[in-house]
Symmetry: D2
Subunit: 100 residues, 4 copies
Amino acid sequence: MNVILDLCVVPMGVGVSISKYVAVCQEIFQRVGLKTQLHAYGTNVEGEWDTVFAAVKECHEQIHQMGAPRITTTIKMGTRVDRLQSIEDKVNSVLEHLNL
Amino acid sequence: MNVILDLCVVPMGVGVSISKYVAVCQEIFQRVGLKTQLHAYGTNVEGEWDTVFAAVKECHEQIHQMGAPRITTTIKMGTRVDRLQSIEDKVNSVLEHLNL
Amino acid sequence: MNVILDLCVVPMGVGVSISKYVAVCQEIFQRVGLKTQLHAYGTNVEGEWDTVFAAVKECHEQIHQMGAPRITTTIKMGTRVDRLQSIEDKVNSVLEHLNL
Amino acid sequence: MNVILDLCVVPMGVGVSISKYVAVCQEIFQRVGLKTQLHAYGTNVEGEWDTVFAAVKECHEQIHQMGAPRITTTIKMGTRVDRLQSIEDKVNSVLEHLNL
């Protein structure tokens, strides 16, 4: 089962700047070969369910190891069985409706 | 690693009423022995990371088997390594600050 | 237009304990007469759109005044024009599907 | 008070394809002059709080007028009083930590 997931990880108790923790997540996703798209409030990730969630777990584990005592994360995610759909497909299907 | 998770599963392409799908998720969590708390916009779940996410995956699988072609899910989740905290602890720590 | 909203406010740069900030939000909602239901990962709020969002704005303003330099908030919210639905209705419609 | 917001609007009861509704939201944000960045699981919006939330309300109103009986929306949003930060700033602060 494929999943497209939007991940927003917020380490707590480490001050207001969290970009280095987000960068570590990017590196985890790249290392395991998952396609990602960074945006200003999270990261889109696309891949097989188990691979994606193993990577999300590693994000939490590694951020704790970096010293964050607490993490709160927001995920939006979608699965569909009617057809295959990629990150690009989702964006393009919106763009097709816009009169640009 | 323990996780407290708030799950909101939205099957798409099945009309406006989705309560029977949410109920199936409740049954999955209960069957695997996870503590849950239902509210009006999701379900709090507490347990060991792998157990919780195996159950979340089963929710998606079973809702697709019930006929939903597409599912979009929102998750909020928290882990902490500084101390143990339960669903009740989180609610109580807010209530202690209220002058009820 | 009525809205049912689930609010999860996370002040950043104030350490790991955020319950006093969540309690302030509870007090704001109560003062303006909005029905709320606290749970372990947020608060359900129900009411007229403009009243609800004025209160959400006041939550952010007041938490900043309490000293939090940064806030990240997750909201889930629903509107419907086919029928009226309360917080209790949503919970009950799930419970009706469970064999308790 | 400035806000950076990530909006994900999901009309229910209209089938599995919702891109035309997302496109309408894009047009609303552009009409009122708000900066947006579309991604595969939502849209980043940046602007003054009241302007942004007036536009979010108009999204719900217009999608209902297009025939959707029910809408569920997920929002992540951030405010900060320590410094100004744009959508580009947030992305760049992560990229600076990556060894690309």
